[in-house]
Symmetry: C2
Subunit: 226 residues, 2 copies
């Protein structure tokens, strides 16, 4: 019997914003799509009572997020030493556009973000560690884990992986044009949105790459018009 | 007599990484250039003992960073209620490239990040608040503060601004190609870097924009070849 995932994450006190509540969303597919599109998350934890926020790679497998690092790095060491795990907040943000209103006050961004609250635990089995590392490589470029040398025992031992389950999660989204006050409608300023997106440049081969090895299909841009 | 800013930020226990120390940098100009290029920072603070990381706009004026929000938003309210201020960690990250090594283990990102530790204080004078709000608008699009309606008294009263001084600051940078182990040099996998950058789309005018108002010069792309 399969367990059917609910379609939404249950809102909690921490995931309901105090303002702009109409921008908050808890839809699972939407949350996953925002998470899967970014490369870097910002991982927050508390060290000596003070907040620390570090950028790091991550990957999602179903309703688990994984981050990795050297066994000597601070958050990974802290999660290993802490029982029952390290309280974290993991945030992912896409900036989709600059919103230029007529009034300085209503300037804004179009964005999509996901905030995950929870407790990160060190992954302890080799199987889950391997699967997480494959996911991390495939998150950077889908298909790449199968087209590179897998981690050996020494590399596996030097790498710590943290798992954070997606339970207390929310997305926040702003789209569309500026929201100027009606009385500003006739002010003589240009108003609208400047869209932003990520541009992928031409792959740059490593200096020592054998010339007979071609750029793989998974790095080729889609045909023009797509 | 002018006070000459030192060229580097003094490293502290919190700003010296436990690993990849060669990637850490404390040069003031470099830190400023990374901060000035991004739109959104990730602001971390501690609430009820747990970390919270929220994306937000910010701006730099000399060695001060400003973030703003509704007077009702959590971190701004917390900073106002807390004496002497709210301990925060503010992080900015640019992802410049995907680094594809021959080994899964050496996959990486090219990136530039800045991490700022410190205590955020609410701005209390109207002059500094106005200057900070101008800086926030000009950070989104340089020149825009002078080409929009300034905040009125009601808007100023509804907006809280936090200041975070740049004192405990570090940058971290990775550039260049993959760092595969020498014994992997003959593996049959493509290896190199996929550059990433931000693409600015064509400005989209608001639905109710008067047709006689043209796209301002500060939104026009530089001539081809730049």
């Amino acid at each position: 019997m399969e367990y059917a995932m609910p379609d939404v994450y249950e809102p909690t006190d921490r995931t309901v914003p105090t303002r702009s509540r109409e921008r908050a969303a808890y839809d699972r597919e939407l949350v996953h799509s925002i998470l899967d599109e970014a490369y870097v998350c910002h991982l927050g934890f508390v060290r000596d009572g003070a907040p620390v926020v570090l950028p790091t790679l991550y990957a999602r497998v179903d309703d688990h997020l994984y981050v990795h690092g050297s066994t000597g790095s601070r958050p990974l060491r802290m999660a290993g030493e802490t029982d029952p795990g390290l309280p974290v907040c993991l945030t992912v943000t896409h900036v989709d556009g600059l919103v230029l209103a007529r009034s300085a006050f209503h300037h804004s961004m179009n964005y999509r973000s996901v905030v995950v609250h929870g407790t990160a635990h060190q992954v302890t089995t080799v199987e889950e560690k391997r699967a997480a590392l494959d996911a991390l490589v495939d998150h950077v470029v889908p298909g790449r884990a199968d087209d590179s040398r897998p981690a050996n025992a020494k590399e596996l031992a030097a790498t710590a992986v943290l798992r954070l389950d997606l339970t207390e999660v929310s997305a926040k989204i702003r789209t569309g044009g500026p929201n100027d006050d009606p009385e500003d409608a006739t002010l003589p300023y240009w108003t609208g949105v400047v869209p932003l997106s990520t541009r992928y440049g031409t792959p740059i081969p490593a200096d020592d790459l054998d010339e007979s090895i071609e750029v793989p299909e998974y790095l080729k841009p889609p045909p023009a018009g797509d």
